[in-house]
C-alpha cells in the first residue's frame, strides 16, 4: 500500500495546508472517500483517497503546510496492522452521521461494526460538507448540537450560523449594520458580554478588514501564484491566436423570447449560451479539449469548461463547469450562477479546481471588444469572449445593425494549429446560430 500524499490541486499549486482530517487511524476507506480538508491559496477543498484500505498513521498535523507529494498518512491494506498507536487528529468536529467507530489501540484492525452505507441510511441526515464543518469550527459550533433544517435534516450554513455564539446586538447597531452592509458576524462587540454597539459597527465599516486569509500570505500569494502560472504558460506554450466575429442576433432574440416566460431566477444570460456553445464545440473537436503532458496530447475524459471568474480583491479563479456539454442550457445557467457564487465565497470543490479541460474568459462586461488570453497549462486552449456590441452588418445584402461578439481562441501550437482553431471558432459560431439546439 502506498502512502496517501498531498495531491496537486491545480497546475499552480506547490503546497497546501491540512485544515482538518476527516478520518482517523484504523478507519476503513473506499476509493474516492474524502480524507481531509486542505486549504490551497484559493479555497478550502476536500481531498480523496484513490485507493481503498485502512488509514494507518496520520503524518501531518492540521495547520501544517506541506509540499505537494508529501506523505500525509500511511495506508494499510485490509488485514495489515498499523505500526503505532493512533495519532491525535487535532480538533476536527464530528457530525452525528459520521461512520467512525471509536478509536482503537494498535492491534489487528477489525472491520467496522456496521457497514457505512447502512449507518448513513439508518435515519441519519446527510453529513455536513467539509467547508461547512470548517465554518462551524471557525465559529466554535459543535455540529452534534445543531438541528438541521435542510432536506432530510441536513445541517445548513444558516443552521450553523444560528447556533453560533452570536453576541447580542443592540437594535440600533443591527440597523446600522444593515445600512452600512457590515456583516455582524465579523464585528467584535465592546459592550457588556460582548454586546455589539453602534460604534463597533461603525468601526468595522471603516476598517473594512480583508477577509482573514488562512495563511497570512494568502492575498500576496494569489498574485504570486497567478504570476508564476502566467510566466510558465508564456515560457512553455507556443501560443497562436485566431478570432472571428459572431452575429448574435439569433441568440439574443431567442433568449429574449424564452426569458419572457421565465422568472428572474431562471433567466438565461448570453454568457451561458456562449459557454454552452463552447462546450458542444469542444465535444465535436476533442483535440482542443485536453492537456499537453510530457510531450503528448492527453484528451480530457469529458468536457469540463473552466470559467474565469474574478473574485473580489483582485484574485482570479477558473473552476470547471463540469460536464458542460451534457447540461441543457437552463441547467447550465443555474450551474454557472452557483459556480460563480461559490467561487466568490471560496467554496469550490477539488474537482472543480483541478478538472477544467479548456478555459473560457469572458471580459465582455468589462467593456473590451476582444480578448487574447493566456492558456492555463496543462490545457491547450483558451477561448476569449468580448463585449456584445451593436454594429453595422451585412444582412441579406443590405446594411443592418446587429449585436456582434468577437470570439478569439488562444491555442497551444504544439497540440493544434490555426486551421483547427479556426474550425473550432466556426463550430461555435454555427452552434450559436441555432440557439434552440443549445
Amino acid at each position: 500500500m502506498s502512502d496517501f500524499t498531498m495531491p496537486s490541486l491545480g497546475a499552480d499549486m506547490d503546497s497546501g495546508t491540512i485544515v482538518e482530517w476527516l478520518v482517523k487511524p484504523g478507519d476503513h476507506v473506499q476509493r474516492g472517500a474524502p480524507m481531509a480538508v486542505v486549504d490551497t491559496d484559493k479555497a478550502a477543498v476536500e481531498i480523496e483517497t484513490f485507493q481503498s484500505g485502512v488509514v494507518g498513521d496520520l503524518l501531518v498535523e492540521p495547520g501544517q503546510r506541506v509540499d505537494v507529494g508529501t506523505p500525509l498518512a500511511t495506508m494499510l491494506a485490509a488485514g495489515e496492522a498499523p505500526s503505532a498507536a493512533p495519532v491525535s487528529v487535532g480538533k476536527a468536529k464530528r457530525p452525528r452521521a459520521r461512520r467512525v467507530p471509536p478509536p482503537r489501540e494498535a492491534a489487528a484492525p477489525v472491520p467496522p461494526a456496521v457497514p457505512r452505507e447502512a449507518e448513513v441510511a439508518a435515519a441519519a441526515p446527510p453529513a455536513p460538507s467539509p467547508p461547512l464543518r470548517h465554518h462551524a469550527a471557525e465559529l466554535g459550533v459543535d455540529l452534534a448540537s445543531v438541528t438541521g433544517t435542510g432536506t432530510h435534516g441536513r445541517i445548513t450554513r444558516r443552521d450553523v450560523d444560528a447556533a453560533a455564539h452570536r453576541p447580542r446586538v443592540s437594535p440600533y447597531a443591527r440597523r446600522l449594520a444593515e445600512e452600512l452592509g457590515v456583516d455582524l458576524a465579523a464585528v467584535t462587540g465592546t459592550g457588556t458580554s460582548g454586546t455589539v454597539r453602534a460604534e463597533d459597527v461603525r468601526a468595522a465599516a471603516h476598517a473594512r478588514p480583508e477577509v482573514p486569509p488562512v495563511s497570512t500570505e494568502a492575498p500576496r500569494s494569489d498574485r504570486a501564484t497567478i504570476a508564476a502560472l502566467m510566466s510558465r504558460s508564456k515560457r512553455e506554450i507556443p501560443h497562436y491566436y485566431v478570432a472571428t466575429t459572431v452575429d448574435m442576433h439569433t441568440v439574443v432574440s431567442w433568449l429574449r423570447d424564452t426569458n419572457r416566460d421565465r422568472s428572474v431566477a431562471e433567466r438565461i444570460v448570453p454568457a451561458a449560451a456562449l459557454l454552452r456553445a463552447v462546450a458542444l464545440a469542444a465535444r465535436r473537436m476533442p483535440q482542443l479539449n485536453g492537456f499537453w503532458v510530457d510531450g503528448v496530447f492527453v484528451p480530457g475524459e469529458d468536457v469540463h469548461v473552466g470559467v474565469a471568474i474574478s473574485v473580489r480583491r483582485g484574485a482570479l479563479v477558473a473552476p470547471a463547469l463540469r460536464h458542460a456539454a451534457d447540461l441543457e442550457l437552463p441547467v447550465l445557467m443555474q450551474a454557472l450562477r452557483d459556480l460563480v457564487g461559490r467561487a466568490r465565497s471560496g467554496r469550490l470543490t477539488r474537482a472543480e479546481l483541478a478538472d477544467p479541460t479548456l478555459t473560457v474568459t469572458d471580459l465582455g462586461d468589462q467593456g473590451v471588444e476582444e480578448v487574447f488570453g493566456v492558456i492555463q497549462p496543462p490545457q491547450v486552449a483558451l477561448v476569449g469572449i468580448g463585449r456584445l456590441v451593436e454594429r453595422p452588418w451585412a444582412v441579406d445584402g443590405l446594411l443592418g445593425v446587429r449585436p456582434l461578439v468577437r470570439l478569439s481562441l488562444s491555442g497551444d501550437h504544439r497540440a493544434t494549429d490555426g486551421y483547427t482553431g479556426a474550425r473550432f471558432l466556426a463550430t461555435i459560431d454555427d452552434l450559436l446560430q441555432h440557439p434552440e439546439a443549445l
Partner: protein
Amino acid sequence: MSTTLVETTYREAMREAMREAMQRDERVFLMGEDVGAYGGCFAVSLGLLEEFGPERIRDTPLSESAFVGAGIGAAIAGMRPIVEIMTVNFSLLALDQIINNAATLSHMSGGQVSVPVVIRMTTGAGRQLAAQHSHSLEGWYGHIPGIKLLAPATVEDARGMLWPALQDPDPVLIFEHGTLYPMPGSLAPDAAPVDISRAAVRRPGKDVTLLTYGGSLPKVMAAAEELATTGIEPEVVDLRVLRPLDDETIVGSVRRTHRAVIVDEGWRTGSLAAEITTRLVEQCFFDLDGPVQRVCSAEVPMPYAKHLEEAALPQVATIVAAARQVVSG
C-alpha cells in the same frame, strides 16, 4: 417694559403667578388648607389674604374630598378656582373627586359641562417627612385621561405655567416639588406665561438622553456636569408636561443620542419612567444602542432616617452611574 432681572425664588415666583392671575381675572380665587391666615403651609400664598381679601383667599376645612369637590363645583359654575391640596399625599382623600368628577364630567356631559379647575399640590420626598408624607404620585395621575399634569422644575416655569393652566377649560394638576421652593432664580418683572405642552431640552448633548421632571431636575443637571468632565455629553430633557407627554421631544432626543436614562422619583414599578420606556421602545426601538435605564426610588415606603431616605431616592451618584452604564455597557 423693564429688562432688569429680579432675583427671586421658586416660591415667590409661584406667589407672583397667583397674584397676577387674580389681578387679571376676577374669576380666579385660591382655596385650601391654611392658605389664608397662615399664608400657606409652604408660605407660597404669604400676604395674599391681606392683598385680596377673604372672598378670594379662602381657608377651607380639613377635608380634601369636600373642598376639592367644592372647587370642582365652583369651576363648573364659571369660576376659575386654584385649589391647593397641601401635599399630594393628602390628595388621596380627594381621589374620587379628581378622577371621577373633575376628569370625567366634561365627557359624561357630552361637553355641556367643563371643569376648568387648577389643583396645585406639593409633592416629593427629601425632607424627612417619612412614609405617609413623601409620595411622588405623578405617575399615578398620569394614568388618568381627562386631566393635564404639569411639573414646573424651574423658577421660570413656576412663574409662567399657572396662567395658561387657568385658561385651560379642563382640569390641570400642578406638582410642585417641596425641595424646589427655596430655589433661587432670576426673572423679568413681567415674565410672560410659558408653553404648557412641550418638554424642554435644558442641556443639549449627544451621548445619552437624561429624561426627568420636577424635583429631580437639579440632581440631573448636576449629574450632567459631572458626566461632561469625563467626556460623556448628556442631553437633559425636562419633561415639564407629564400628561400628555411630549413624545416628539422625548423620542427626538433619544433618536439622536441612542441612549436613555429616565430619572423619576416615583417607585419604578408602573411608573412614569416605565411609560416613557415603553414609548421609546414603541417609537425608536431601532435607534436604541442599549437598554433604557431607570433611576427611581427604591421600592420601599419612604424611610424617615436621613441616610435611609437619601439611599432610597435618586441621587447624583446613581444618575451618573446609570448614564455610564448605558454609554459603555
